[in-house]
């Protein structure tokens, strides 16, 4: 936290696309090389600015999906059907293209290993992105922080990081992942199949007795439902951090 607090005024930096990863049909990971990047903490986000040939600019915020790695910044972008920026980022952006970044931003919805655990992460849809940065930051780290992740997605095809999380749960004894698919489930699905509710949270998350640090990220409805159930189950409000996730822009 200290490191973010002392950071001063941010400026826009040019960032070149070095790799594109299709996470699912409408979600794309974008790995950028950003000379001058000052580093970041899991949970922080960046502002992305696109400038058209006629000078028109559009700006959006995206969570950073991976821990600090030199000048490399990875974001994961979900296609918003009537969006102004995401169709370009998901559909047209190519390796070698340059976009502008401003960041890192955010000192509130941040987790670092020094803050300890156990860690309870709850994701609705693409709200998993900043939580994934927290999980990826723990790969190979000691001591391992016991971590539980509950992911709510609409369908199997809309899941993000599915294969990577399967590998990580095999590799990391400290990580447990529960999925719920709220709209449709593939044949043979063994996860949960309904919207998050009290019973699911009681079963799949750390109890308040364990005093977990809780991070909830997703659409507003998801975040408010989950946070109010957790408070009802005895979790301290001050240990629950929320981030509402949605299409955003700035003037």
């Amino acid at each position: 936290m200290e490191r973010t607090a002392v950071r001063g005024r941010l400026s826009w930096l040019a960032a070149e696309v070095v790799e594109l990863v299709d996470e699912n049909p409408t979600v794309r990971g974008i790995v950028l090389s950003c000379p001058g990047w000052s580093g970041h903490l899991p949970g922080q986000h960046v502002d992305v600015r696109l400038t058209a040939e006629d000078g028109y600019q559009a700006q959006r915020s995206y969570s950073i999906a991976a821990p600090e790695n030199g000048e490399q910044v990875t974001i994961t972008v979900e296609l918003i059907g009537d969006g102004e920026v995401s169709p370009y980022l998901v559909g047209e952006l190519g390796v070698g293209d340059v976009i502008e970044l401003r960041g890192p931003i955010g000192g509130y919805f941040v987790w670092t290993a020094e803050m300890g655990g156990p860690l309870q992460l709850l994701a609705g849809g693409s709200g998993i992105v900043p939580l994934m940065a927290m999980i990826r930051s723990q790969v190979g780290a000691t001591p391992a922080i016991p971590t539980r992740l509950l992911v709510s997605a609409r369908s199997y095809d809309s899941m993000i990081y599915r294969d990577e999380l399967a590998v990580l749960t095999e590799k990391m004894e400290s990580l447990a992942v529960t999925y719920t698919l709220t709209r449709s489930q593939p044949p043979g699905w063994t996860g949960q199949d309904r919207r998050v509710d009290q019973a699911m949270l009681a079963e799949a998350t750390w109890s308040s007795d364990e005093r977990p640090l809780v991070y909830v990220c997703g659409p507003t409805g998801f975040v408010e439902t989950v946070a109010s159930i957790l408070v009802g189950q005895g979790h301290e409000g001050a240990r629950i951090k929320t981030e509402r996730f949605g299409p955003s822009g700035t003037p």
Binding site: H45, S61, I105, G107, T220, F245, G246, P251
Partner: protein, 85 residues
């Protein structure tokens, strides 16, 4: 509560332009109800004309940012104070 809002975290870039530093973890006070909490926890409405930050407790408008032809106009309303720590 409507489903349209995000949190003040989404305006972190704008706060940085205004204050020249990270602000989402800094406390602010609502001049209407007196509630105090980090700016990152306030309610941000980004699909209003411009961007509107409201108090998480009483929903009073704390601050509005509107794009003008030459820049951004910030109108401070119920934001009584922010504390830099």
């Amino acid at each position: 509560m409507s489903d349209r809002h995000l949190d003040g975290n989404a305006l972190g870039g704008l706060f940085n332009e205004l204050f020249g530093r990270e602000m989402t973890d800094q406390d602010a006070c609502c001049g209407t109800c007196g509630a105090i909490g980090p700016l990152g926890r306030a309610l941000a409405f980004l699909d209003a004309p411009g961007q509107v930050l409201r108090c998480v407790n009483c929903e009073s408008v704390l601050l509005v940012a509107v794009a003008t032809p030459t820049g951004v106009r910030i109108t401070v309303q119920s934001l009584r104070w922010v504390e830099l720590s």
